[in-house]
């Protein structure tokens, strides 16, 4: 309970709320698009860099199992999401696969919020977590986009979508950052650390302000999305989260690491996936997949989900 209040009262979550409120009162507040893009670039690169530097200090043995768990979940989660949507939710092929692609991938901001939460309750997740974020971003999208292909529908260009995914700016920045951080190592990284590490949480406040504004404009679509999708956007993430905690602990992650891992795995992408799905599955409705991942799962995760995953991780592995 304390943990929950503490999470709600963090400047990051409160900035998200401010964004939602300001949209609800029809304020003209908005971040200039270039600022929003700049902060995205900064956050992705910073995560990569920190992850790379940490990785350069970590032995292979320690990472190999968590990496395996990440790839496994990148394959499993889009499939479970697809099955639930298609056979329980009766969504058509395109929409089921489109939404599944989002849940197979990862929301970087949810990851960051989980890291910040861990810190705020005095825990410390493994330093190589950003490596896992980068690895989790792609396979889920690929797997989900394969489904309609295998079941031979589709119509959009999967090849173009794959190029979009692999050379998309988020992957470039995360992977590029990882490599730069890894090659530079802690000493050479020191001179850029104030910019990329010390400023990180502050920049995140601005980012979540804008994300709140964007999310609020999604909320009016909740009705179109329907009750099933709302339930889906809360329950499936919890199930994926529990699965992630279990596998994460098995792979040797700490309790904090498993909590963060659960937040990552449970989250739905809203940057890389939408672009890829829009190209590969043009008939899938953006209203559905964006409302689910950004309008339902994201707010759920950063308010209730993250503390919940930590409680479960603590209970299963503490």
């Amino acid at each position: 309970m304390d943990a929950l209040i503490s999470n709600f009262a963090s400047p990051i979550v409160l900035a998200f709320v401010l964004g939602i409120v300001s949209r609800l009162v029809k304020s003209n507040l908005e971040l200039p698009k270039p600022l929003y893009q700049s902060i995205s670039i900064y956050l992705l690169l910073a995560i990569g860099l920190k992850g790379g530097v940490e990785l350069s200090k970590t032995s292979f043995d320690v990472v190999v199992w968590p990496v395996g768990a990440t790839l496994l979940l990148g394959v499993v989660t889009p499939i479970t999401a697809f099955l639930v949507l298609r056979y329980m939710g009766r969504f058509d092929m395109d929409n089921a696969a489109g939404i599944a692609a989002h849940y197979g991938s990862v929301s970087v901001v949810t990851y960051i919020a989980a890291m910040a939460y861990a810190e705020s309750v005095g825990l410390q997740a493994e330093g190589f977590m950003p490596t896992l974020v980068a690895l989790l971003e792609i396979p889920g999208i690929v797997v989900a986009l394969m489904i309609p292909l295998l079941l031979s529908t589709g119509g959009g260009s999967v090849k173009k979508a794959m190029h979009e995914v692999f050379t998309g700016s988020s992957i470039m920045l995360l992977m590029g950052g990882l490599l730069i951080g890894f090659v530079s190592g802690p000493e050479r990284f020191a001179s850029v650390e104030p910019f990329f590490v010390t400023m990180f949480n502050g920049a995140l406040v601005l980012f979540l302000l804008e994300l709140g504004i964007v999310t609020a404009s999604r909320l009016r679509d909740l009705k179109k999305a329907g009750l099933f999708l709302v339930g889906f956007g809360i329950i499936v993430p919890i199930l994926h989260g529990i699965l992630a905690i279990w596998l994460g602990l098995l792979a040797g992650l700490s309790v904090a690491g498993a909590g963060v891992f659960a937040a990552m795995v449970s989250s739905g992408s809203y940057i890389a996936a939408p672009a890829a799905v829009r190209i590969a599955l043009p008939k899938a409705s953006p209203t559905l997949y964006l409302t689910a991942s950004l309008g339902i799962t994201f707010p759920f995760n950063i308010t209730l989900g993250i503390p919940l995953y930590f409680v479960i991780a603590n209970w299963m592995g503490g």
Binding site: A275, V277, P282, T287
Partner: protein
């Protein structure tokens, strides 16, 4: 001033289609194009590129034949599933040979 008649074709579309559309119009014979950022609302509403926040407005000066090819290609490929609108105008250009 010697002016030549030409067609100015304008395509307004979600930003995600930028690369595909510019490739398309060059392939159909446009010698150049100009892009501006735009935003807007229409009858179909939401799109996936909302994160990039904006539409693009693609303008090209072409001759009637190229205009027709572009119009046909755009409407066949994009009209059904994407937020795209297209219109043409008559303009007069200097040094028409450059574009037509």
């Amino acid at each position: 001033m010697l002016m030549t008649d030409a067609i100015l074709i304008t395509i307004i579309a979600e930003r995600l289609l930028k690369k595909q559309l510019t490739e398309l119009i060059v392939e159909k014979g446009a010698k150049g194009y100009t892009i501006t950022d735009a935003s807007g609302e229409g009858s179909r509403g939401i799109r996936a590129s909302e994160f990039e926040g904006r539409n693009i407005k693609l303008e090209a000066i072409v001759n009637q034949e190229v205009a027709n090819k572009i119009l046909t290609a755009v409407s066949e490929t994009y009209f059904e599933n994407y937020a795209v609108i297209t219109y043409t105008e008559n303009v007069k250009v200097v040094r028409g040979d450059k574009y037509l």
